[in-house]
């Protein structure tokens, strides 16, 4: 016993070190990026986050794919398509050489099966509502028609022809089928192994430009080029590592030591310094997303429109952008990011500009001159240094401009969501990333029965306009309806937009095929490496 313990300890230490070091015997990847938090799953039907999106975009492919520069839908699994004159029937012609990684063909039937699975109530797909534009889809998901898929407007006319019937025209439908939740899964594979066992690297069958080599939880996901992908000649990376790193400081450390070629976010504290880098590898670009506050309109004093307007007018958004966000974000006066104008002909309706006098007047009109007599207001935010800083600044601004006392409360993510949903808040921080380039993705959140509407605000005129817009085939009229709806929203102010996000990717100059775009989507299939030698050395300083 006596002599045994030290030997045992030495053995344990040796074993630990040897085991740990054996982890590192991996051939290096061509391209390494920090993907943010560990992904939830690689099953396209189930996920919602950006990190998951990056992986699924590499593993699977839908009917269309987005051009990495312009985001235009391009032919992918569907080689071509026909759209009926009433814009309600889409017929997709699948390409013959679209293949699964087990070297079988991707058929129209695969799509019918995958979308049936996606819409099926038991799958619990969070994005299911995106396909509810299809005839009968909503009824199928919500269980109004029981397990009878034949009434849903998704049909395989033959092996290579898929027909989809929409309820009303959807101008962005072609983009939508290139969005990752709508990607097909291999029915033989899913049936054989069941969910979630089919997602294991040894079981998974996929149809995208890359295959899943292995997953180490919270370490990395390794992707290798697929040799069955139809467009494999244009895929130039062979091995990719997606690192699961959640702290932005760690990401920056990895980037600066040359361990990562692309990081998706950087610490806010150093953004001004990064923007000054001679390498020019940090150039924030506009992003279809808005940072805003939601207001619970069911409780006084915030049930009074004038109080909400006063609070909104008294926010110096420029100061928030310049001093806290710091990456050249645009102050927001509308819910729909103004940048959308570069892609479609929509001009967002804006609320009033920063105006303390007007704010003070409105507050006095509401019965709280100089903030006197005003009940305490509380800002709720999910735990994060940035949200905290913005809330603190807002607190100071309101105090100074209106004399209004504001308390701050932070909750960790799940509790925060729960508080929002149950309307146990007064003002809460929120953010929304557009799923597709259309005002609808922002504006339909605030119709009365939307599950995303946590404000308690309800306006029949608004509901009616959004409904009209969704039914309207004429593009111009449709956008005009949206504009009118947003004008109501920006007058009533159940939401207070603060700023429009920018993408804060930092990427090495030798990484080519990486284009800034409004959705912050950078498909891995389009990326290649050129002239890494000198670039790597230079940026190491």
């Amino acid at each position: 016993m006596k002599s045994f313990i030290p030997y045992f300890a030495v053995a344990a230490v040796l074993a630990a070190i040897i085991w740990a070091v054996s982890f590192g015997t991996l051939p290096p990847a061509d391209f390494t990026f920090c993907n943010g938090d560990e992904i939830k799953t690689v099953d396209p039907a189930i996920v919602t986050g950006a990190p998951e999106g990056r992986i699924i975009n590499a593993l699977f492919e839908g009917l269309t794919r987005w051009n990495p520069k312009t985001l235009e839908p391009e032919p992918a699994v569907a080689a071509s398509w026909d759209i009926s004159d009433d814009k309600l029937t889409y017929t997709f012609h699948l390409r013959k050489n679209a293949r699964w990684s087990d070297d079988t063909q991707v058929t129209a039937d695969d799509f019918v099966w995958s979308w049936r699975r996606f819409l099926h109530p038991a799958t619990g797909a969070e994005y299911a509502y995106e396909l509810w534009y299809i005839v009968g889809a909503e009824e199928f998901t919500t269980g109004k028609i029981k397990s009878d898929f034949s009434s849903v407007g998704i049909k395989a006319l033959d092996r290579q022809t898929l027909q989809v019937q929409l309820k009303h025209p959807v101008p962005y439908f072609l983009s939508l089928v290139g969005f990752y939740p709508m990607f097909p899964v291999n029915q033989r594979c899913v049936r054989k192994h069941g969910y979630p066992a089919w997602t294991k690297p040894e079981n998974i069958v996929c149809n995208g430009p890359f295959r899943l080599k292995f997953r180490r939880i919270r370490d990395r996901i390794r992707l290798v080029k697929s040799d069955t992908y139809w467009d494999r000649d244009n895929v130039r990376l062979n091995v990719i590592d997606a690192l699961a790193v959640s702290s932005s400081t760690t990401m920056l450390n990895l980037y600066m030591t040359g361990r990562a070629d692309w990081i998706t976010t950087v610490p806010v504290e150093v953004i001004p310094e990064l923007m000054k880098r001679p390498e020019g590898d940090f150039t924030p670009s506009p992003f279809l997303a808005v940072y805003y506050y939601v207001v619970n309109t069911t409780k006084p004093p915030l049930d009074d429109k004038r109080v909400r307007q006063a609070l909104a007018l008294a926010i110096d958004k420029q100061q928030i952008v310049d001093k806290v966000a710091r990456a050249g974000q645009q102050p927001a006066r509308s819910l729909v990011p103004t940048e959308i104008r570069k892609y479609i002909d929509y001009i967002p309706a804006e609320c009033g500009q920063y105006n303390i006098e007007e704010a003070g007047r409105l507050l006095a009109e509401a019965g709280y001159p100089g903030g006197r007599g005003m009940p305490k207001v509380e800002i709720l935010y999910n735990t994060s240094e940035n949200h905290k800083a913005i809330a603190e600044l807002l607190q100071a601004q309101w105090k100074r401009a209106l004399g209004v006392d504001v308390r701050l409360r932070n909750q960790e993510w799940t509790t925060y969501l729960n508080s929002r949903r149950q309307k146990k808040y007064q003002i809460a921080r929120a953010g929304w990333i557009g799923d597709y380039v259309d005002p609808n993705t922002f504006l339909d959140m605030f119709v009365t029965d939307s599950p995303q509407n946590h404000t308690g605000w309800s306006n029949t005129e608004y509901d009616r306009l959004i409904d009209f817009a969704q039914q309207e085939p004429d593009e111009k009229k449709r956008l005009a309806y949206f504009h009118r709806a947003e004008r109501i929203l920006m007058d009533e102010m159940p939401v207070i937009p603060i700023y429009f996000y920018v993408s804060t990717s930092m990427v090495r100059s030798y990484v080519k095929g990486f284009y800034p775009n409004i959705q912050d989507v950078h498909p891995l299939r389009a990326i290649w490496i050129e002239g890494k030698g000198e670039g790597g050395r230079k940026s190491r300083n």
Partner: protein, 351 residues
């Protein structure tokens, strides 16, 4: 032997302690710190909550040492200015603050420790943060001390089945990953509908919850250490002697054993206060510490570490909170050492 030793032990110890320069220095430092902490509102400091984004990440300045810092009053009354810079305060602090306004007016010490990302004065935040950090450290430790020593001493002394049972209970508690419990308790108690009544009726906020939870965690270690010591003490001749002259169990434990534990307990105390303060910092790292706009040293240190990046280091945001924590804990440790040497009757000549 210990009964006659009682009073002279204290005087003896004090005499010995006074000869220990490091310990006395620490004692003075800590005493000063406590006074400073209490009188913080009276000092000519800038408002710890006064946001001024034109000065964000300003490096420390040494000259001019004094500057008018309150936003120009204009038509706005003092109340508004004060509550913008200092927030809502208790009656005592509020009175002190008003006294300070009467004494120094608009003048306050310049940002000799620099400013943070919202341009708030770090020196002032450190001073106000000291109030919370010290309170957390001291109160939680005292809670753990009282529970831990009595529990450990009883268990160790009784031995046998009682000891076994008591320690089994400690083992059960010990094996609970307390981080988990702390996270849950804090989220439960800060949920809407539970938080408000607690705060308004009983004045219980996150900090108070913190005292209790931390106190409840750290007594375990104290109990274990004390028990271990008691076990090795109880076979000592002087305890046997006390037993043979018919002293009761309670008497033996609290008169004969506990005083002899003093050195261990004090050393442990000087280790526990820092650990509690660090635990607070750890919770701040996870976002579960004090809630802004309140500040604590842990929160400040965490904010500072966020500002350490390979591109740019805002050194003052790390150095000063680190220094504040470090110096305080250093002083606590030296004082603990000094007290140990002074109190331990078994070391007759420390030199």
């Amino acid at each position: 032997m210990n009964t006659t030793h009682g009073t002279s032990l204290g005087q003896d110890a004090w005499r010995r302690l006074r000869r220990n320069r490091a310990a006395m220095l620490s004692l003075w430092f800590l005493a000063m710190l406590c006074i400073l902490t209490v009188l913080t509102p009276l000092l000519p400091l800038q408002g710890p909550r006064l946001v001024d984004t034109s000065r964000q990440f300003a490096a420390p300045v040494v000259w001019p040492l004094v500057e008018p810092s309150m936003p120009a009053g204009g038509e706005r009354n003092t109340d508004a200015v004060l509550s913008e810079g200092f927030g809502e305060l208790g009656p005592v602090s509020d009175a002190l603050l008003r006294l300070r306004m009467a004494m120094f007016g608009n003048w306050s010490i310049a940002s000799i420790c620099g400013t943070d990302k919202l341009g708030r004065d770090l020196l002032s935040r450190l001073c106000w943060g000291a109030r919370i950090s010290l309170a957390v450290g001291v109160v939680a430790t005292l809670v753990s001390l009282v529970i831990g020593v009595s529990y450990g001493a009883v268990a160790g002394y009784m031995g046998g089945r009682i000891d076994n049972l008591m320690m089994r209970f400690v083992d059960v508690l010990y094996s609970i990953p307390f981080i988990f419990v702390v996270i849950f308790l804090i989220t439960i108690l800060s949920a809407e509908g539970i938080k408000e009544p607690l705060e308004e009726k009983y004045g219980i906020n996150r900090i108070v919850i913190f005292f209790v939870v931390v106190g409840a965690i750290y007594w375990l270690t104290m109990a274990r250490v004390v028990r271990g010591q008691v076990i090795s003490l109880k076979h000592e001749p002087f305890i046997e002697a006390a037993r043979t002259i018919g002293a009761g169990h309670g008497r033996i434990i609290f008169y004969h054993i506990v005083p002899n534990l003093l050195s261990v307990v004090i050393v442990y105390l000087t280790l526990t206060v820092p650990r509690v303060m660090l635990f607070e910092a750890f919770l701040s790292f996870l976002g579960l510490g004090v809630e802004p706009p309140d500040v604590s040293w842990g929160l400040l240190a965490n904010e500072g570490v966020g500002a350490i990046t390979p591109v740019r280091i805002y050194w003052w945001l790390v150095i000063f909170p680190g220094l504040a924590l470090g110096l305080t804990l250093l002083a606590l440790n030296f004082l603990g050492d000094g007290l140990r040497d002074a109190l331990d009757p078994r070391i007759k000549d420390p030199r």
